[in-house]
Symmetry: C2
Subunit: 465 residues, 2 copies
């Protein structure tokens, strides 16, 4: 299956590297250009990154090239959320009725290196580091790169150019200047800052035997929901956690509320709002003062192609990180694009079909990611919200196919995002009606079994099942 | 009042030229750069332009520099819409109960020349033609221009840079690359093409004495509403009309429906859908084949400034032309910016205040312009719509201050656009309730006076007046 067709990919991040492997296996000649140095020599210089939660969509795409199992080996399972309230009390909330369902904390740097190694192992992939994409000629299908060290400019003509070069894509820039190309970039009024919970052994007074060497429960995505603001923490393979603050830039409980260099104020603020975290964050005030505040952007465009140039991943649809779907959606782009190419092979037909197929799905996950921020920071600790989650999972448990919650459809299935959103919302309306007919005050009077039976019976009636 | 401060304006179109005059009168030193040649020597080379409807906001801004009266001298009053139905029957719909209210058809080229002459007459304005803006340094307040003829690049440092360089602003490009700058460009699925109705004297069989030399009524904005599509015509001083088709690119009654070079098909299509226009369009098939189809874009961004660089007009808020407010909104930007500078003078305080003050208003008129397209093409010929317009104007006639219709507030007042929208919508709800209580079927049984009395009485009751 040798096409002898030549694809140039701008960006050897997660989506670009995976696409290179997949295309190479299909017989395409691939040149993969990356503006950064080779992370395998230079050490990983990512953009400042939020930890990645790998779920079914990402795993399905990795499985196409046999990389799902090796990647999962280094991942840490997170079958649910651990909620930390303002008193330091904990509640574990499983993501799914099915204990096999979990999202997986992975290192962006490690995953990128795995994918680059796989691309390097393909004889028809050439990787070019330190080459910054500076322009593209969409009529001639020529991408232009400039070497960071030598300043040398290279024009590369290809049969297809792929922009896998992230939220601020250079390939997208000339597309934006073409007629009837819709585009938007919208920043959140919240920013983020990373902090760290080191391994238990590095924390005075912590018990390194309690959580397998971690300072807190490793098999969970930790959330400190505080209304308009929150902190989260994801486990790393080295038994540390990367914590991320999501606070407004301005207003209450905001980055402007504290002078980052005033250690006493920082400590006082965290002691008030995140009391159980302070004892496991020995470098808190240093980290807070040293680490930058970064912004969060949603990018949308339409279409995702012009002639034989096409976008994948963040270049086409940068989303906020609150559903843990950025990488998963990017990998799904790669899987769908390659699957269309396998069916047809003609870029002129496949690129419009790919754009058409993916656009509504990317819009859906972009919206759901924004919605999930509100869920995570505001409602996740609300009694009624927790009760409805319980109803939802009870229905899901008794009717796994008929009653699939939004979170499960997004994280534990490959159903297109826009369909997942529609189905998830429909179930949400059923759950609300069940909770009206069997309110949580009444639920408290029932045994778990009796409650479950009632919930399922009302749910079946409403679903007509 | 000599500031000795230096302002560089990119773009000597309508907004840029007016701003130059206004700033010069305040004592600023102004350098006005324009990528096109001087239209007074070269003849006017506009972008392809839809005729301009000058209304109160634009006139108010022109009055600040004494140019309202001279501009109105060459304008043609349009106190209402003339609706052409598919049978060629006409209905005149006045814009206002007050016969003094009218919008004014002006030539973009003529108005631009008037403004350039005024700018040239100011000793502290220098105009530089054939200089294309290619970049700006927002930290150093430096704009970079490249001469079209010589290729020479000039860097100009200023106290303030103004991007008045239109929907595809070069000044905005570096702003877009700064953190937390929201931006969107959204194309309509409709495009436009210009046609012409020549003076009566050039049309075989037309009576040049009937409409003062025009082929159809000159004192009206003509609309041929056809559901998803429409044609409009605005009068020109030379007794011709510029007609504009607004049709979808694809679908029914769309540009793709007809082969532009098939004169028989073009004529048949127009004879079917625009029967009364065909006899006054002798060059129809040539014009249709020769003239391009152009796209329509809405551009929004936020904020409108970075440091000491700021946007006015289309550069900040390109809108679709269906409310005739693009130029008026741009002139209002100029008026508000200059008024803030008169009060304060400090760019560092004024630019954020200007951006803050204008953003919501620009969003409001952008939305209303999109809404008005639907009104013009779909509902303007609907019986119930016409009845409600009659109710609205009856209420406005009896309570000119309390009951101000949206169209009047936008076109015949200087009330901020967002306030106009809110007030106009509130009146719209009252009108709907009046029309429910006195339906048009009943209205037909009443004399005009009796109907008017009933409408006003119900309206007063609902308004609590």
């Amino acid at each position: 299956m040798a096409h002898d067709e030549h694809v140039v990919i701008a960006g050897a991040g997660l989506a670009g590297a995976l696409l290179a492997v997949d295309l190479a296996r299909m017989g395409y000649r691939v040149d993969l250009y990356e503006r950064r140095p080779d992370p395998r020599q230079a050490g990983y210089i990512g953009g400042r990154s939020i930890n990645l939660a790998l779920s079914v969509r990402g795993l399905t795409a990795l499985a196409e090239v046999g990389l799902d199992a090796p990647v999962l080996e280094d991942a840490i399972r997170m079958p649910g959320r651990m909620l930390h309230d303002a008193q330091g009390d904990l509640t574990f909330q499983a993501y799914s009725h099915d204990p096999a369902d979990a999202i997986n904390s992975v290192s962006r740097g490690g995953l990128n290196i795995t994918l680059l190694d796989a691309a390097d192992a393909e004889p028809n992939v050439a990787i070019h580091f330190d080459e910054r994409c500076v322009d593209a000629d969409l009529d001639e299908t020529i991408a232009v790169f400039k070497n960071n060290a030598t300043g040398e400019v290279t024009q590369v003509k290809a049969d297809c150019i792929v922009g896998a070069d992230g939220a601020f894509s250079a390939i997208r820039a000339p597309m934006m200047r073409t007629d009837r190309f819709d585009y938007s970039q919208t920043y959140l009024r919240h920013g983020y800052k990373e902090l760290v919970i080191p391994p238990a052994i590095e924390i005075e007074g912590a018990d390194p035997t309690k959580h397998d060497g971690f300072a807190i429960e490793p098999n969970a995505l930790h959330i400190w929901p505080r209304g308009g603001s929150m902190m989260i923490a994801l486990p790393n393979a080295d038994k540390s956690f990367t914590c991320t603050l999501f606070w407004p830039f301005e207003g209450d409980h905001a980055f402007e509320s504290i002078d980052p260099n005033d250690a006493a104020s920082v400590r006082a603020f965290f002691t008030l709002h995140y009391p159980d975290a302070v004892p496991v964050m020995p470098t808190l005030t240093d980290d807070y003062s040293r680490n930058p505040v970064s912004s969060l952007v949603t990018v949308r465009c339409d279409p995702w192609h012009r002639n034989r140039t096409v976008l994948v991943g963040d270049a086409a649809h940068a989303i906020v990180p609150f559903f843990g779907q950025g990488m998963n959606a990017a990998f799904e782009d790669v899987r769908v694009l390659c699957s269309l190419l396998r069916e047809d092979g003609g870029f002129d037909r496949v690129l419009p079909a790919y754009s058409e197929a993916r656009k509504a799905n990317a819009d859906a996950i972009a919206d759901m990611a924004l919605d999930n921020f509100i869920e995570m920071r505001d409602t996740v600790a609300d009694e009624e919200f927790l009760y409805r989650k319980r109803v939802e999972q009870a229905l899901h448990g008794s009717m796994p196919e008929r009653a699939q919650p939004l979170y499960n459809l997004v994280s534990f299935s490959n159903i297109p995002y826009d369909e997942a959103r529609e189905k998830g919302r429909a179930l949400g309306r059923i759950v609300a009606r069940v909770a009206e007919r069997l309110p949580r005050q009444e639920a408290a009077l029932l045994t778990d079994d009796a409650w479950n039976e009632r919930v399922v019976s009302i749910g079946r009636e409403l679903l007509g099942a």
